[in-house]
């Protein structure tokens, strides 16, 4: 197995197909559409966490130069898809998505309460600073630990017997008490924010009052189209969502958020195209976050290291008005062979905005706790943590009692351990120091469920022999277009340069949003079958021209030509085939989706991470100095971009482990970390070289391309591996992230 390098010709990797536009600044992100007549909207947000708006003083703001409109719940034109507000106004009941400028109530700090529309950004911002709001304040509850007694089984789960979030037990629920070696501990992850470098932004343009185009930052143009059509009661095709370039999202763009609706409302009200860009501080209260979560894990094993019992309980934070559910405890049912497993999941509603999925949602949280606990138990057993995991290797899915569609985690462990030189790890903490720094090794496992959604793709061969492939999928960064181009090039036997992949527009064939590591499994399969279909049509046409290509023969495609066989040197070019048949183009459109295999196999991506840290013995500063990450995600479509995605996941995991922490002052119910100076994400100096390895064997059961998702397992487990390395370096077990110097002093 060779190391993945970015430019290893043996990989036959494609450089990003959008590389040129991205390095020249020519790629156009949502806020960058120059629409004639564009005006600027700025949100004014609440400074209390609960209560209601008593009054606005808008006098100064209204008379400020350049102001076109000030929109509040008092004067907003009703959003047609929403019910009329109750009279007198009532607080939205649980289960209602937040509606912007709808009622006088404050549900969370940072909630939009007014919107200025002005001719320039400077003037809109100035006017926004002149808006005065008086509130009827009510006591708010934002403190997790103080309210944890109110955590309960989510209403959605109570209503649904088959919900995967139901309490779960296999074997004996009381087995832990009888286990020979036991540990029990509580783990906390604070609220963390996606904070993509591009702030969420939208340019909203109405045409003729009933046609809407939005240039919007989101992770799913089709879903955004559907949600906007519903809200504004428009036929779906009257809404177009254009989002070809997204400056990162990591989950923050899965939903249509209030600010998007607000911008559309503003554009309608002022009859001008409106641009709305969230300020960085607004990014903390507008587009979700990874929820604050407290977990308790009880692990028991025999002296031989065989797991006997796992109890995993998790409580996650949500808003008062919506339930956000995560897989926090679910990976624990699956990842190790253990006869007695109990998991419980609870939600704690607080006066905060609703959390959302953030890279590795639930699993990144849960695996931090479980993989820390596994390390704690391995230490209690005085057993090597890797050996302990191998001892409890799940040969089949212990939750569903199904065979894995494929699982090469054992190979991942072996490869990662070898490359990392794991054998040099010392069992006892504080045993190694280098240049005055304490050195520690840690590892963790990773898993993430396989997600494949129905997807469509269209492939069109043009007269010049070029191919355009289209699907309404997205690229928030992983390199979707590049991977799809590679799939198409492979099927059609063409040079990738002659293929153009189009995405990020709601008029393209249906595709799921980019989330849950589902893009390559879903859209990749659609592109594959669409290109296969195009190839079939092409061969049929060729067959009419020449006996060699008739159906049932050995005809193949390569270099943009059809050949009679692999050995055949006399080909017929795609362009000539079209020309012969007097065709301007040849099109194939297909849909691809899962079948019965979902019930026959359990499907997951797997991986593991090995981390070396150095800890300053006096200042407690932790630096990650080496990482080896290894994944089994089936076939790798494009090594170069896959490797980057793995590296990115590790970087995100290092941030989660060492610095990311959205901290709230509960007296105000307001974040005190509301910019990049307060909310730290890793910088260059925090990140060492990261080695990435893949098993790269197709999983033949999952889809026609044999490829599973990579985006999430890249981060799942990393925080645990770092925390375990910190323990190995210092003897200090940090169970509350992030591991900042104050915790090690």
């Amino acid at each position: 197995m060779k190391k993945q390098t970015p430019d290893n010709p043996a990989d036959n990797s494609l450089s990003r197909v959008d590389g040129h536009v991205k390095v020249t600044g020519a790629a156009t992100y949502s806020a960058e559409y120059a629409v004639p007549g564009l005006v600027h909207a700025v949100l004014v947000t609440s400074t209390i966490a609960r209560g209601s708006i008593k009054a606005f003083d808008l006098q100064e703001a209204e008379t400020a130069p350049g102001v076109l409109a000030i929109i509040t719940h008092l004067n907003a034109q009703p959003v047609p898809g929403w019910p009329a507000p109750k009279q007198p106004a009532e607080r939205a009941p649980a289960g209602t998505a937040f509606r912007v400028f709808y009622d006088p109530f404050i549900y969370f700090d940072g909630q939009p309460v007014a919107m200025i529309v002005a001719d320039t950004r400077e003037r809109a911002l100035h006017a926004a600073s002149l808006v005065r709001v008086t509130y009827q304040q009510e006591p708010h509850q934002t403190h997790f630990e103080k309210n944890i007694g109110k955590a309960a089984i989510p209403l959605n789960v109570q209503r649904s017997k088959n919900s995967p979030f139901q309490d779960y037990t296999r074997g004996n629920a009381g087995a832990w008490a009888q286990a020979e070696i036991r540990i029990e501990a509580e783990y906390t992850i604070p609220t963390q924010h996606h904070q993509p470098l591009e702030p969420h932004a939208i340019v909203a343009v109405w045409e003729a009052g009933d046609k809407l185009t939005v240039y919007d930052k989101n992770q799913g143009v089709k879903s955004a189209q559907g949600q906007l059509a519903q809200a504004f009661k428009l036929p779906r095709e009257h809404v177009q969502v254009v989002s070809p370039y997204i400056g990162g999202a990591f989950g923050s763009g899965i939903r249509v958020w209030p600010h998007t609706v607000a911008a559309v409302m503003a554009a309608k009200q002022v009859r001008r195209p409106v641009k709305l860009v969230l300020g960085r501080e607004q990014m903390f209260t507008s587009v979700g976050y990874r929820p604050y979560t407290v977990q308790k894990i009880s692990l028991g094993a025999g002296k031989n290291g065989q797991l006997q019992a796992i109890v995993h309980e998790g409580v996650g934070q949500t808003s008062m008005y919506e339930e956000h559910l995560e897989r926090t405890v679910q990976g624990t049912r699956t990842i190790y062979a253990c006869p007695n497993v109990t998991t419980r999941y609870r939600l704690l509603p607080l006066d905060v905005n609703t959390p959302t999925w953030m890279r590795g949602p639930g699993d990144a949280t849960g695996m931090f706790a479980l993989e820390s606990a596994m390390d704690e138990l391995a230490f209690a057993l005085q057993m090597d943590p890797l050996e302990f995991r191998l001892k409890n290797y799940a040969e089949s899915d212990p939750e569903r009692n199904l065979p894995w569609s494929a699982k090469a985690l054992r190979e991942c462990y072996a490869l990662g351990a070898e490359k990392f030189r794991w054998e040099n790890r010392q069992m006892q903490p504080r045993a190694v120091s280098r240049n005055g720094m304490l050195v520690g090794y840690g590892m963790a496992s990773s898993l993430y469920g396989f997600h494949r959604h129905p997807s469509k793709a269209r492939a069109v061969l043009r007269a010049d022999g070029s191919v355009t492939v289209q699907s309404a999928t997205m690229d928030i960064g992983p390199g979707t277009g590049t991977a799809m181009t590679r799939i198409a090039a492979g099927v059609l036997g063409m040079n990738a340069k002659k293929i153009r992949f189009e995405l990020g527009h709601s008029a393209l064939p249906d595709a799921p949003g980019q989330n849950g590591s589902s893009t390559i499994p879903s859209v990749g399969s659609a592109v594959y079958v669409a290109c296969e279909s195009l190839k079939g049509k092409l061969l049929a046409l060729a067959g009419e021209m020449d006996e060699r290509f008739k159906a049932g023969r050995q005809a193949v495609v390569r270099d943009g030509q059809v050949f009679g066989s692999d050995e055949d040197k006399d080909g017929l070019s795609f362009a000539d085939i079209l020309k012969h048949h007097h065709l301007n183009e040849l099109e194939a459109a297909e849909e691809s989706k899962s079948g019965a295999e979902r019930d026959q196999y359990s499907m997951y991506s797997f991986g593991c991470h090995f981390v070396e840290v150095q800890v300053h013995p006096l200042t407690g500063e932790v630096r990650v100095t080496r990482v080896v990450t290894c994944a089994d995600v089936g076939a790798i479509i494009n090594h170069k971009t896959a490797r980057s995605q793995s590296i990115g996941g590790v970087v995100g995991g290092i941030g989660m482990a060492l610095m990311e922490h959205s901290e709230m002052d509960h007296r105000f119910g307001r974040y005190v970390t509301s910019d990049f100076a307060g909310y730290h994400i890793p910088v260059h100096a925090d990140i060492p070289a990261i080695e990435v390895y893949y098993i790269d064997k197709p999983d033949v059961h999952v889809n026609p391309i044999g490829s599973k998702g990579l985006g999430e397992i890249a981060i799942v487990g990393v925080a645990g591996a770092v925390a375990n390395a910190v323990f190995n370096a210092t003897g200090r077990r940090i169970r509350t992230l992030p591991i900042t110097p104050d915790k090690l002093i």
């Binding site: 970015p6 450089s15 990003r16 590389g19 040129h20 991205k22 390095v23 020249t24 600044g25 020519a26 790629a27 156009t28 992100y29 806020a31 960058e32 120059a34 130069p65 350049g66 001719d119 320039t120 950004r121 400077e122 003037r123 996606h194 904070q195 993509p196 470098l197 591009e198 702030p199 370039y245 997204i246 400056g247 990162g248 999202a249 300020g279 960085r280 928030i476 960064g477 992983p478 390199g479 170069k640 971009t641 490797r643 980057s644 995605q645 590296i647 990115g648 590790v650 970087v651 995100g652 910019d675 990049f676 100076a677 890793p682 910088v683 260059h684 100096a685 990140i687 070289a689 990261i690």
Partner: protein
């Protein structure tokens, strides 16, 4: 050289004349009626001409001399993005905490969100759009593509402008040095190791950057 006479900012005089007239004009010691401001010649050594609503400035962007009328509150970043259509320079935070807005001012890397456009009167600004020569990419742009030094691409122009400066400054002799001197450019996708490789490679090649 062009001498653009862009004036895309709204006509403040017509909509708030009272406020406009109240302002006294100190700049360059001139005192003019509002209408004169827009047509006043800009002496090369003097400062911008204008008042609190509009100021006339002259600066060079990517080798082209521009005469522009700006709201003094407009940052260089907003001038580039909103007024000049140069959206390659990115707004990540607007508070000097992410580096996405990095440009070169008189040849040195700087954050365009933390300086007012009016302060750039007389200076030379280079943005990502001015880094390549037509279709010929800058060596670091090529290296970014080769090493996959980006994912979503949003921090990329800032990383490139900073990376070029880092090499020119002589701060690209080791991976650790690059990491330290590039730490003002955040990347949330986590392309850091590839960016470092790209910068080190270009530095090693010794090509003129």
């Amino acid at each position: 050289m062009t001498d653009d006479l862009d004036d895309t900012s709204p006509d403040a005089a017509s909509e708030d004349r009272r406020f406009f007239l109240k302002q006294t004009m100190f700049i360059a010691g001139l005192s003019m009626a509002p209408a004169d401001i827009l047509h006043a010649a800009l002496a090369p050594d003097d400062g911008p001409v204008g008042n609190a609503v509009k100021a006339r400035i002259s600066l060079t962007i990517n080798g082209r001399r521009k005469r522009l009328t700006v709201d003094p509150r407009m940052t260089l970043l907003d001038l580039l993005r909103e007024n000049q259509g140069l959206t390659g320079t990115k707004k990540g935070c607007d508070f000097g905490q992410c580096g996405a807005c990095t440009v070169h001012i008189d040849g040195r890397r700087a954050l365009s969100c933390l300086t007012f456009a009016v302060m750039q009167h007389g200076r030379k600004v280079t943005t990502i759009e001015g880094l390549s020569h037509g279709e010929q990419l800058h060596p670091l742009q090529e290296a970014f593509i080769r090493h996959d030094g980006f994912q979503c691409g949003y921090c990329t122009p800032g990383q490139l402008m900073s990376g070029v400066a880092c090499i020119r400054e002589g701060h690209a002799d080791s991976a650790d040095e690059v990491r330290e001197y590039m730490s003002g450019n955040l990347c949330r996708c986590g392309a850091y190791p590839n960016i470092v490789d790209a910068i080190l490679e270009v530095k090693k090649e010794g090509r003129k950057v």
